[in-house]
């Protein structure tokens, strides 16, 4: 399995420009995240600590293409005086962890329920279909707001809200695939020969669904990043006190009220948000183009 993955990866990197670009950008972001976790320039400030020393340097402007007023703080400082670059670096690793959590959890729940729905009796199938449809309809950002009221503002809250609204998509895909596979001869043969349900699921159904769903998931990751940031933006803009945890969306949301003065608090994290999402989207596109060779040919026009 591992060898397959690495060979596919190297092929993708070699052949697809999109994938190469996306991979490079995402890798850069991961690197930023690692730096943010391990050694950001102003570590305490990065994580939100405010000391009298920081308060002394509130609102220092950042380096623009032409001028650099405070070389010590290349991205300036925020409204409390904390170094924005460090905040962004720490925020990078938070963003990555959040996205991965959402993906992993919703994939787990979604695939599990999807396979279950596709391979069980009619009652469970109908029930799970109903639940899937229900949770697909619920708007994630309002659920997130409700969770914030209930559970307070932590890293997990928004993640949970997003997991709740994303699992149905994977469940539906898994369900469709399993339904399709179920009729195929090799599954029927397995059942006849006495294979237990669990065995069939893990040995046959799961591998087939995983490959398709993973491609879908990577394609979704860009949207999840933006969705997460948007929800955090709303929460941040509503917040009455300054944000500790340097989640990009929240920094930007809280910073909105300073848009006329300390505009860099909103603008700079957004650039990196864009880069992360772009990297993920390009990777996803490169991957799905690789998967369906028809898309790879060079075309022209019939007309």
């Amino acid at each position: 399995m591992n060898r397959q993955v690495t060979s596919m990866l190297s092929k993708l990197l070699r052949k697809s420009l999109k994938f190469r670009l996306g991979f490079a950008i995402t890798l850069a972001m991961v690197l930023m995240g690692i730096i943010g976790l391990v050694t950001p320039p102003y570590r305490d400030e990065g994580w939100g600590l405010v000391t009298p020393g920081t308060l002394a340097k509130q609102g220092l402007p950042p380096c623009l293409p032409l001028s650099c007023p405070t070389p010590l703080h290349p991205f300036g400082t925020d409204e409390m005086g904390r170094d924005l670059l460090s905040r962004i670096l720490v925020g990078a690793h938070i963003a990555l962890i959040q996205v991965s959590s959402v993906l992993l959890l919703s994939l787990f729940i979604g695939i599990f329920l999807g396979i279950l729905a596709g391979y069980s009796n009619r009652v469970i199938e109908k029930l799970l279909s109903y639940l899937t449809e229900l949770f697909m309809i619920v708007p994630s950002f309002i659920v997130a707001a409700a969770f914030v009221v209930i559970f307070g503002r932590g890293m997990l809250t928004v993640v949970m809200a997003l997991v709740l609204t994303w699992w149905p998509w994977y469940a539906r895909t898994a369900y469709t695939i399993v339904r399709g596979l179920r009729e195929l001869d090799f599954i029927v043969l397995c059942e006849v020969m006495g294979g237990s349900k669990a065995y069939i699921i893990f040995r046959h159904l799961l591998p087939n669904t995983l490959s398709t769903i993973l491609v879908q998931a990577i394609g979704d990751s860009g949207s999840i990043v933006i969705e997460m940031a948007s929800i955090n933006f709303l929460i941040g803009s509503a917040s009455l006190q300054s944000i500790d945890m340097p989640e990009w969306g929240m920094i930007m949301g809280y910073g909105l009220r300073y848009i006329r003065t300390f505009w860099w608090i909103v603008i700079y994290p957004g650039i990196f948000l864009l880069l992360l999402a772009l990297g993920l989207i390009l990777m996803g596109d490169g991957l799905s183009e690789y998967m369906s060779p028809v898309l790879r040919r060079r075309w022209g026009t019939w007309i």
Binding site: K15, R297, R298, W299, G300, W302, I303
Partner: protein, 315 residues
């Protein structure tokens, strides 16, 4: 039947290929032929012989990702000029009847609507009555009722769809009709019906090119026959002379197989590299394979119309 040398379709060393990741895959290699006006011209070969690609090229329906070499002239218009191609101009002058007519009709429209589109594209400013009249006329030539106009394509049977396709092809008033495997999906009765219909098309001044793997059908319907194998032309000629005296081993094999005679073809394993390698395209199966076959023989004519690409024939 016009025997003048002005063929309405002329191919000169035409090659058509598809680009893949590494290389170009040539479906048609150095094909030269000439289709006389008002004749019924058959291109016969098995799957993979390139006949469908050639037919698509003549009808102007090659996908945009194909590569071309050589020349193709249709109705005195240069359609393929080495790597430049302009298929747009001949559409409508050359109409294709598809292999699977049910899937070749827009599933979201009724037959009547599609038919109107076809007629309107050739003649402007028809009143509604004239339109309906014209369509009925074409329907009657294929013995179909007007009721069919209200149906959706998925509601037609194979035979009905085939006839609708022929009627629409007539309505486009083309100079050439290319029929792609017109009998593959039909039963014997419909096969003879379609055969007769295609034969009758020449009355309208239309040249008919039939692409088929059914050499028996070709023998009953066509005037001229071209045998293709592996993307190349291996034999051409009038249908009587080719059947009376098949010169290429592949043609011999085809006829024997069709007539269910014991074959003289050597059924050795196909060696893939030999198949695509240089040399005669048939050499891996040919019972008469020998030294000169390392080079692909050119097409040599033994009579005015009968030609063959084999080292064993001609001087």
């Amino acid at each position: 039947m016009d025997l003048s040398n002005e063929g309405i379709v002329k191919a000169k060393m035409l090659s058509i290929g598809y680009e893949t990741d590494e290389d170009i895959l040539w479906a048609v290699k150095d094909v030269s032929l000439e289709v006389p006006k008002n004749s019924i011209f058959c291109i016969v070969g098995e799957s993979g012989s390139g006949k469908t690609t050639l037919g698509n090229a003549i009808s102007g329906l090659l996908p945009p990702y194909t590569v071309t070499r050589g020349h193709l002239i249709v109705d005195n218009i240069l359609v393929v000029d080495n790597n430049k191609s302009n298929f747009k101009v001949i559409r409508g002058a050359v109409v294709r009847i598809p292999q699977n007519p049910s899937s070749a009709l827009n599933p979201y429209l009724r037959i009547g609507a599609i038919f109107e589109d076809v007629v309107k594209s050739r003649t402007r400013n028809l009143t509604k009555a004239e339109l309906r009249e014209t369509i009925s006329k074409y329907l009657s030539t294929v013995q179909l009722d007007e009721e069919v106009l209200n149906l959706y394509p998925y509601q037609l049977s194979g035979g009905m769809a085939q006839r609708v396709a022929i009627a629409m092809a007539l309505a486009a008033r083309p100079k050439v009709i290319v029929a792609d495997e017109p009998t593959s999906n039909l039963d014997a009765y419909l096969r003879s019906l379609v055969g007769n219909m295609l034969r009758g098309l020449v009355k309208f001044g239309i040249t008919v090119i039939i692409i088929t793997h059914d050499i028996v059908f070709a023998s009953h319907v066509c005037n001229y026959i071209t045998v293709m194998y592996g993307g190349r032309v291996v034999e051409v000629g009038g249908v009587e002379e080719v059947f009376a005296n098949p010169l290429h081993p592949y043609t011999v094999g085809l006829i024997e197989a069709a007539l269910l005679k014991k074959t003289t073809v050597n059924s050795t394993k196909i060696n893939a590299t030999e198949y695509y390698g240089a040399g005669c395209v048939y050499k891996h199966k040919c019972p008469h394979r020998s030294e000169p076959c390392r080079v692909m023989p050119p097409l040599k004519h033994v009579s005015k119309t009968h030609g063959v690409a084999c080292w064993r024939v001609g001087a």
